[in-house]
Every structure is written in C-alpha cells, then in structure tokens.
C-alpha cells in the first residue's frame, strides 16, 4: 500500500531523515517509534506531501507520489492527523467533519448560492458524519464548537474527521498524546475497528504499552535512520533498540 525507498530530508545542515525505507502492507497497522528528534514527524510530513524529500521515492497504492502536493496525495486516499489537534476550533464539530468530503458541489462558488444544487448531497454527508461521530461517542457534540471538546475528544474527532475523505491509508501522529489512558484505549479500539473495515495505518506513538497491543509490526527510528523493524516482541528484545530508546 505504502512503500518508501531511501527517503532523505535535510534542513540546512541538519539531516532529519537519512535513507529511510519502509513498507506498509494493505490492511496493516504499522507503528513508527523512536525518541524525540529521531525524525518521525519529519518523515510523516514528507509522506503526506507537506515537505518535499531531498532524495528517495515514495509509492502509494501503485503511484509514485514523491513530488505530489499534500492536496493531490490526499485526493489519492492518504490522509493524516497532526501531533497537536489540528481542528478548526472556531467551527462546529459537524463542520469539521463535513469539510474533508471530496468533490463537494457546494464548494464551487458558482453553485454555492443555489442551495437546491447541493442540499441533498450535504444532508447525505451529514448523515455519514453523524454515523462516524456516533462511532466515536461524539454524536451529541455535533453542534458545539470544536474548541469545547476535551483533549481526548479532539483526538477522536480528528480520527472521525479523517474518515470523511474516504481514505485508504491513515498517517496518525501520536493519536493518544495528552489523552487519559482509558480514552487512549478507546482511540486504538476505534483504529482496530477501522482496520477490520479495510483501512491501513501508519502510526507514530510514544505510548508503547498501548501501541504494541495493536500493531502488526514496528519500525524504530533513531537520528533519522531506521535502526530496527519487527513485531512488538522482536522490538522489545532488540538490544540496540533497548539502548537508544529505553536507555538500557
């Protein structure tokens, strides 16, 4: 589904990502871990098209997306979430949900003033949004501003919102950061349910005790490089990983 070949990205003299190759198979949940500053978020930005790589190739769903814009990559079905909740805080929860829907007729200024041209589509999208919100226990909050939600609810809303663009693969950057443990498991249960429905995930996460219960395999990054790849059990036994990541 997603394949990175020798991807590199530097900022002036800082080589944030050096020669990274990894594979995310269809229908898998793959973890990407590493200490702070190891290059995980930069790599996510490169995959999503927010940053252009200096070298290497990125293939998604059979297409070379290396030089494509974030917008084009999203249109291909690769959606992402950010480390900090990246909601539109002054907009309602429902508006946050409806924005990512692709090919909205009412988003064209020539059609927008004529409600009859898009009203039915809008109501249908709202029904889908309501179902996704119900799956994340946010249905009752649809009319509130996104800023009124708790940190955990914001993360859930981001996850629910990313479903509205019919993605094939989700890049999640720390989906449980700042979230209470019980809600963190709820978020990962939702991720697992979505995987069962056919979605693929690449997840950056620091809470390994939760992540390791859900992933198929894990890539470990350190100083911009992948230093290990394997199942959670393999990773926990890997001496190099224990040294750089767990400080042992």
């Amino acid at each position: 589904m997603l394949m990175l070949e020798h991807v590199a990205k530097s900022f002036d003299s800082l080589r944030a990502v050096k020669d990274v190759s990894l594979t995310v198979p269809q229908g898998a949940i793959i973890g990407l871990i590493g200490p702070n500053g190891s290059g995980k978020s930069t790599l996510m930005n490169v995959i999503a098209g927010s940053l252009q790589p200096d070298a290497g190739r990125i293939l998604f769903d059979g297409h070379d997306i290396t030089d494509e814009s974030a917008r084009d990559i999203y249109q291909r079905g690769l959606a992402r979430s950010f480390q900090d909740p990246s909601l539109f805080f002054r907009m309602s929860v429902l508006d946050n949900m409806l924005l990512p829907v692709k090919q909205q007729r009412g988003e064209q200024p020539a059609r927008a003033p004529w409600h009859r041209l898009w009203r039915r589509d809008e109501d249908a999208h709202a029904a889908v949004a309501a179902a996704n919100l119900a799956d994340t226990q946010l249905r009752g909050h649809y009319a509130q501003p996104a800023s009124d939600l708790s940190g955990g609810q914001m993360k859930l809303l981001e996850l629910a919102r990313s479903m509205m663009g019919d993605p094939k693969l989700l890049l999640l950057d720390e989906p449980t950061a700042g979230v209470a443990p019980a809600l963190a498991y709820t978020i990962f249960d939702r991720i697992e349910a979505l995987r069962q429905a056919g979605l693929t995930f690449l997840i950056v996460e620091h809470r390994l005790e939760i992540l390791f219960n859900y992933v198929d395999s894990v890539y470990v990054m350190h100083l911009g490089e992948v230093i290990a790849h394997g199942t959670p059990a393999d990773i926990q036994q890997n001496a190099q990983v224990r040294e750089v990541y767990f400080g042992e």
Binding site: A70, R71, Y74, R90, M91, L99, W118, A126
Partner: protein
C-alpha cells in the same frame, strides 16, 4: 438654528448606506470569512469609478451615435456638455451605459482582485499581503492622479451622472437612484449570505482558521483565496460605480487609505464573518459620518471656528480601539454553524 432638508438628507444617507453596505459585505467576505486582509479595498472600489470615467467619456457618446470628444483638454467643457445632454435626453443610452459600466467594472475588479491574490501564494505572513495591497492601492491612486486618459489626472472628471438624472427633478431622481442602490445592496447581501451559509463558506472559514490543515484535507487554499478575492473585488468595483455616479464626480483623492479604514471600521464594529453585522456596521458608520458632516456644516454656518468634520476620524478610531479591546467579535458575532446540515441532524433526532 438648524437648517436641514430632512428628506434630502435621508435620501443621501440611504444611498451612502447602500453603497457602504456593498463594500463592507465584500470586505467581510474576503477578511471576515476567508481571512484575506484586504487593506487595498479603496483600490477595488476605485476600479468602478475609473471604469465609469472611461465608459462615460468614450462608450456613451458612441452608444448615442455621437463623436467621442477628448474629456480633458481644451474640449473639456464641450465633452461635459455632451455627457449631460445624452443622459438628460436619451435615458435608454444612459441606462445602457450604466449597465455596461457595472459589468465591465465587475470584470476588471474581479480580475485585479484575482491577480492581487497572487502575492498570497508567495507571502508567508498574511499581514504582508495587507501591506502589499495597501501600498498597491496608493500606487494606483497616484498613477491615476497623474495620468490624463482615465479621469483627467488630478483635475478629476465631472458629469458622471446617475442614470435617473433624465427625470429632471433632482429629488425624484435621487430617490429613484437610492432605490436602485438599496436593491443592489439587498442582492449583494443575499448573495454573500448564501455564500457564507454554504459548503463554500465552510471552506473559506477553514482556510481562515488553518490553511495548512485545510490543504492537508485536500483543499486548494490558493484557489479558494483567489476565488474570494475575485468575488469580493467584483462587488467592490460594482459599488464603486454606484459611488462615483452618486457623487457625479471622479477624483483619485476619494480613494485614499482613509476610505479603506472606514470600511474596516464597519466590519469590525458590525461583526467579522457575519453578513448582517457588516450591514449593521455600514449603517452605524454611515449615520455617524453624515451626522458629523451635517454638524460640521451647521457649525460653520453659525460662524464656529471648530473644524467638526474631523471629529468623525476620532470617533471611528475610538470605536475601532474599543471594539478590538472589549468585543472583538463585533456587535453581531459570526454564527457557529454554516449550512443547514446542523438543522438536518437536529431534525433527525439527537
């Protein structure tokens, strides 16, 4: 003793209100909804005035089957007489010329706005764009003031009468024109309100809130900004045609920075992102503007040495500061919900 023609004052006030409302609505669409800080609004309004300057002097004589006369040189008086004669005696030509002026002004204004959005793709800070538009507006004004063919440079151009001037009775023609202006303002309100309450309005709000996230969700931020600048600038240029034909006189000095700041006061006072707020802000500022002007004239006639006319600038400055400090959302805050999808969900049961 006050000596005011109340009816004439009311007609003038309604006319200015309608024109101001159109301009405020266009800026509220651009900045209030989409977050594009257009500090060059006077430029886009002036496009309408300059377009009228050209059509009234070149197109209108042709429409009437007359020869075009140079409006600026030695033939200035002759050209002015020709314009007045056509508008007074051939109303069909006056109206056709006015309608064509509106269409051309909207197109030119829209294209200039679209092009002005281009720096937005290059400038990282949105307020740099504000400065670019502010400076660009002044540059165009200074060029027009020193370039004869558009509105006779610093002399300005008179005789750009509104199309009802043929009625002869000035009060009747003013009333008819006020009706036309208010109708146009009503249509602009309906149009902008419908845009704001649509998925397109939602897209503009998202671009305003966080353009990077909007792009990561597959939205074309540059296109959204360019579109809203096209629409807003077209509306401003249309308002500019009404503005200049209401005055009957085009002068580049009317479109200085202070003009833009008046419009900003209207939308900050009324409510950023709320179209009703823009109309309310336009009403309050227009009334204050007229009241201070009438007061200034009255005081002058009574022999006062106090220059009351400038009091409005102080009042507007104080309003702006107080609003930004104590009620930044304006008198009528932006509604949280965009489309009726919210009501649809509420009806579906919650």
């Amino acid at each position: 003793m006050l000596n005011i023609d109340l009816v004439a004052t009311l007609i003038a006030l309604l006319t200015f209100f309608g024109i101001s409302a159109m301009i405020a609505l266009s800026l509220n669409l651009e900045y209030g909804l989409a977050g594009v800080p257009n500090f060059g609004q006077a430029l886009f309004v002036s496009v309408g005035a300059y377009t009228a300057g050209v059509t009234y002097t070149r197109l209108m004589p042709l429409l009437a089957g007359r020869d075009v006369i140079d409006p600026c040189g030695a033939s200035l008086g002759q050209a002015l007489g020709l314009r007045s004669e056509i508008i007074r005696t051939v109303p069909a030509v006056g109206f056709t010329n006015f309608a064509v002026t509106l269409v051309i002004a909207a197109l030119i204004g829209g294209v200039v706005g679209y092009l002005a959005s281009y720096p937005a793709l290059r400038l990282k800070e949105e307020w740099y764009l504000a400065l670019v538009l502010l400076v660009g507006s002044e540059i165009v004004r200074i060029i027009v003031r020193s370039y004869d063919p558009i509105i006779c440079a610093h002399n300005g151009l008179s005789g750009l009468a509104q199309p009802f001037a043929f009625l002869g009775n000035s009060r009747l023609s003013s009333m008819a024109f006020a009706g036309l202006v208010l109708t146009a303002a009503g249509l602009v309100y309906l149009y902008t309100q419908r845009l704001a309450r649509s998925p397109y309005g939602r897209l503009l709000k998202a671009v305003r809130e966080n353009d990077m996230v909007a792009a990561s969700l597959g939205k074309s931020v540059p296109r959204a900004r360019a579109q809203v600048m096209f629409i807003g600038s077209a509306i401003a240029a249309i308002a500019g045609v009404f503005f200049v034909t209401n005055l009957g006189f085009a002068s580049a000095n009317d479109y200085a920075v202070a003009f833009t700041l008046d419009i900003w006061v209207m939308i900050v006072l009324g409510g950023l992102g709320n179209m009703r707020g823009a109309v309310l802000g336009a009403l309050i500022v227009t009334v204050l503007d007229r009241v201070t002007q009438v007061m200034a004239i009255q005081l002058d006639m009574m022999g006062s040495q106090f220059e009351f006319n400038y009091v409005r600038f102080i009042v507007f400055g104080v309003i702006l500061l107080l609003m930004l400090r104590y009620r930044p959302q304006g008198l009528l805050p932006e509604p949280l919900e965009t489309t009726r999808a919210h009501a649809h969900l509420a009806e579906a049961g919650d």
